[in-house]
């Protein structure tokens, strides 16, 4: 799973969101590190919709335009859960190794 896909699925966990809502939520979740462009967002979104991980929740009129809200499916939730566990396992592995390799002089991790 790519990092943008991971953040998009995470952004949709708590509530359905429209296109720009996802962009804003991803920026906030990643503390500004992941700034999705619209082309990148829809490049990922159409794959997630195609894979059945995201689906349309509703359409709402806003300032003369139609906003589509997207929500996470059960399949998307499972995929995100699996990816989160994989990343957590990787992080645990690295942390354990870092703790084991302490600097012999200072006693701090080298």
């Amino acid at each position: 799973m790519t990092e943008p896909a991971f953040f998009i699925l995470t952004a949709l966990l708590d509530a359905p969101r429209h296109g720009y809502g996802i962009v804003a939520e991803v920026a906030e979740l990643s503390r500004g590190r992941v700034q999705l462009k619209i082309g990148s967002l829809y490049g990922v979104l159409d794959r997630l919709v195609g894979d059945g991980q995201v689906e349309l929740d509703r359409e709402e009129a806003w300032q003369g335009r139609l906003r589509r809200y997207y929500r996470l499916t059960e399949r998307g939730r499972h995929a995100l859960d699996a990816e989160a566990q994989r990343l957590a396992a990787n992080a645990r592995l690295a942390s354990t190794r870092l703790r084991e390799r302490r600097n012999p002089i200072t006693g701090t991790p080298s």
């Binding site: 296109g19 462009k37 619209i38 082309g39 990148s40 349309l56 139609l66």
Partner: protein, 350 residues
């Protein structure tokens, strides 16, 4: 519709029509939301005079490349075009790498560094460059070799960055020379234009693209050196008449030979042939355009009638083999299902 929306929709026309049909309005809504500054006056100004940023345009271009030149999981037509562009790019890069490798070997031979080969004739001695700066500048063209290897090994961005080193110095040299007293020549600009197209075509090696089979493409480098430039150099050294074969002419000959071989073997390997047919068609169109565009350069040469006749024969040869191949490729392409609209996100019934 505001000017900003018009401009953004114009950029979105890069995307396939079926994709736009499903996603365009939503993308426009999201984009306009992203341009909302929160202050009504500023937002009104931006919607009248603003333009999509370069990074926004780049994200659309990248999406368009991914959709039109698809990877293994793309619809068949998109995948066929994607593979065709990737194969054509690899073949063009391989040609550069082969010629550069030969050029390095010839330079070493002429400067007496390859002792086991017979010494070159006295009229072939190379003139040493006037400064280290000139030497470095001339070496820039050699960057095609590492660029090709990087592309085959799957490092697309490295390949593009290295290839840029091979394109920029010759462009500056040509511009400076032609601004001075060197007569204007189409050939050098045509070759640079092709190199720039090649640089851009590397974008087809995106994340979704299948990896390049390393062994055959790496093996193609020494095989290519032994099959084309070495015999050609030897023949031209002994038969002065063949020195009339210039770079566009050599490209025509190589592409025609490749197309003939492809047409001969395609009967037995039909299913895998379409991307190769399209790739060779793309190369045939490029070489034909290069051959035609460089014809005016012959006008001030002593043997211009002979050269123009040879060039016409080369162009006819490319057309004679390229047109039937293109017809076969287009027919095969039409038999494939078109690029479908992506699954429309439908509202599920609660």
């Amino acid at each position: 519709m505001s000017r900003l929306e018009e401009r953004y929709r114009f950029v979105l026309r890069l995307l396939p029509a079926a994709y736009r049909q499903e996603w365009e309005d939503d993308m426009v809504a999201a984009f306009l939301d992203s341009m909302d500054t929160g202050d009504s006056e500023t937002t009104a100004y931006v919607t009248d005079y603003g333009r999509p940023s370069l990074s926004e345009v780049a994200s659309i271009v990248s999406l368009a490349v991914r959709l039109r030149l698809g990877g293994a999981d793309a619809p068949p037509r998109s995948y066929a075009w994607g593979q065709a562009v990737r194969l054509a790019t690899l073949m063009a890069m391989l040609t550069h790498a082969v010629m550069i490798t030969t050029s390095i070997a010839v330079t070493l031979w002429l400067s007496g560094k390859i002792a086991w080969l017979p010494a070159p004739a006295s009229e072939w001695t190379i003139t040493p460059p006037s400064s280290i700066w000139h030497t470095a500048w001339n070496l820039a063209g050699y960057a095609w070799l590492p660029a090709y290897i990087a592309l085959v090994l799957g490092h697309r961005r490295v390949a593009q960055a290295v290839a840029l080193l091979a394109v920029v110095p010759p462009a500056i040299t040509t511009a400076v020379q032609q601004a001075g007293d060197v007569p204007l020549s189409v050939s050098s600009w045509a070759m640079l234009l092709i190199d720039v197209v090649l640089l851009l075509a590397m974008a087809a090696f995106h994340h979704g693209a299948p990896p390049v089979p390393r062994r055959p493409w790496l093996l193609a480098l020494p095989v290519g050196v032994l099959l084309v430039p070495v015999p050609l150099f030897t023949i031209q050294a002994t038969t002065p008449a063949l020195r009339l074969l210039d770079w566009p002419g050599l490209s025509c000959a190589a592409v025609t030979a490749a197309m003939v071989i492809h047409l001969t073997v395609r009967v037995s390997r039909r299913p895998r042939n379409l991307p190769w047919s399209l790739a060779l068609t793309l190369l045939a169109v490029t070489t034909l355009a290069q051959r035609t565009a460089t014809l005016p350069d012959y006008s001030d040469q002593a043997q211009h009638t002979t050269l123009a006749t040879i060039a016409s024969v080369q162009a006819i040869a490319v057309l004679a083999v390229g047109v039937p191949l293109a017809v076969l490729a287009i027919r095969a392409l039409r038999r494939l299902p078109p690029i479908p609209a992506t699954q429309r996100p439908t509202t599920p019934t609660e």
